[in-house]
Amino acid sequence: MRRLIDHGFTLLTGMAALAACGLLVGIAAVILERGLPALSWEFVSRAADGFGGGGVVYQIAGTVLLLLTALGVAAPTAIAVALLATVYLDRGRSRRRLTLALYALNGVPSIVFGIVGLAVFVKGLGWGKSWLAGGLVLALMILPTLTVALAERIRAVPRSYRTAASGLGLSRSAVVWSVLLPQSLGGLVSGTLLGLARAAGETAPILFTAAVFAGATLPAGVKESPILALPYHIFVLAQDSFDPAAGAALWGSATVLLALVLSLSIAALPTRLRTHEEARHG
């Protein structure tokens, strides 16, 4: 009987895994089938022209800029907050409050982040639509993912490592630099990946804060310097997908966005593998 349940369970999990993989392959197939014909060197190297004509080079550049800004702001903040949650507030109520705040932040819908960005950066600080406003909103949005992933890894570092390092005379910050951060690098990388993959595709947060459909190239300053971005491009094109030229550009852009997210993951793969290797030796 127990074996039967065991087999049944294995079958069930296998099917669920298969379904998940199938869904992923299906989505990729749909996008690639319609997007690949539109792809060409011109498409990724030229500026957009009218509604659906030309290429998407500035949309790519804008998205990359948004991601870099979000990464540059969110990664150091996540390290600081994660250390606060795990090391410096090691006991007590403030730590629980911090964790609660992070989970709450994670549950905030992205459109709300967009409106907050609109109110604070665009209106409040008078930046107008700006790449920096969009990057900051995205950073705020991915911060919980990054922080939680990193904090989990820091908590998973064996307590004995911390005790042994302290026993040798390392100060608390030395323990952080010598043991905790190196041991949880993988968590930072994977958390960053998850966060960036999410940020790359979000439209709502940049809708009011950063993106325009046309008339922008690379920003020169902060104020009134909007950018083009792939998800927003797709969003606008999709609203008029009966136009065949727009349809081709739409699926072409979707393919590029997918490729961008995938290449991000692949670029980070070596680091992830290496950290796993080290963890096994430990």
């Binding site: 490592y161 042994a164 390092a165 302290s166 390392l170 630099w177 010598s178 430990g282």
Partner: protein, 282 residues
């Protein structure tokens, strides 16, 4: 470095005068009490550790031997839920004094844990771990430090040709000596050893015991053991920890040769199965 050397020469002076005058007291505890969430788990009314030589701490499992050691270098403060009251002095300075830096203190009082804690990374890196993060000696002096520490811990011959191999390759006995090398590299005045032979075979146990005797010529050693035979072989003086009404109580140390004066303690210690290498309790 220079500071450590100065400490070394300062601490070796009394060796000459020890024969003629009162022995120097390096570590002393007075009215020490450890509580776990309000209930006392360990009391130490009076304990003195004399310079050089080996002071043994013996007692049944769960009496609080490891806890006592952690009180001496303030590692106890890293244990969640435990609090300490009372006085501990190292060379006349208050260990728990408000102006005492715990990291500096732990540099001077090294500790070897019941289970050797080896960091991920190579053998050489493990030996250098404390030095690199606390004293930061120039890189060109690293090989010298590694060799000296490994020789002092009697591990050099076994690892000479594989210093760059992962330290986790080593056997438990070798890891214990690696941890000793890591501690010796810091040139501590006092070394606390928590049952360093509890998971070793008789041959390795004998080797470590010989090593402890040799180290005692230059360092002050506090050795936790559960084995009265080992105590007779290695220690000069011995203090007993036994449970009274569920609280571990540390009795003042006596010369090992005269035996334990308290019949209760004697019974508790004789009741311990004394086969070295059999018991492995984390």
């Amino acid at each position: 470095m220079a500071e450590a050397l100065r400490q070394r020469s300062a601490s070796s002076e009394p060796i000459v005068s020890a024969a003629t005058t009162e022995p120097r007291i390096v570590l002393s505890c007075n009215d020490l009490e450890v509580r776990a969430g309000g209930t006392p788990i360990l009391r130490c009314p009076e304990l003195e550790v004399r310079a050089h030589g080996v002071t043994g701490v013996i007692g049944p499992s769960g009496a609080g031997k490891s806890t006592l050691l952690k009180c001496l270098n303030r590692l106890i403060e890293l244990e969640p839920g435990l609090s300490v009251r009372g006085r501990v002095e190292l060379d006349g300075t208050a260990v728990y004094g408000r102006r005492t830096d715990p990291a500096r203190l732990r540099e001077r009082i090294g500790i070897l844990f019941q289970q050797p804690v080896v960091f991920p990374g190579s053998i050489a890196r493990n030996v250098l771990f404390g030095l690199r993060w606390v004293r930061r000696p120039p890189r060109r002096t690293w090989p010298g430090h590694v060799q000296r520490a490994l020789r002092a811990a009697s591990l050099w011959d076994e690892v000479e040709y594989r210093l760059d191999r992962p330290a986790t390759e080593l056997s438990v006995g070798q890891r214990q000596r690696l941890c000793l090398a890591r501690t010796l590299a810091m040139e501590p005045e006092v070394i606390l050893m928590d049952e360093p032979t509890s998971s070793l075979d008789p041959a390795s146990t004998e080797a470590i015991e010989g090593l402890i005797r040799r180290l005692a010529e230059r360092h002050t050693i506090v050795l936790v053991t559960h084995d009265m035979d080992q105590a007779r072989r290695v220690t000069d003086r011995i203090a007993c920890v036994c449970l009274r009404d569920g609280v571990g109580v540390v009795a003042p140390s006596v010369p090992t040769a005269t035996g334990l004066p308290d019949p209760g303690c004697r019974r508790a210690v004789e009741a311990i199965p004394g086969t070295p290498g059999r018991r492995v309790i984390p």
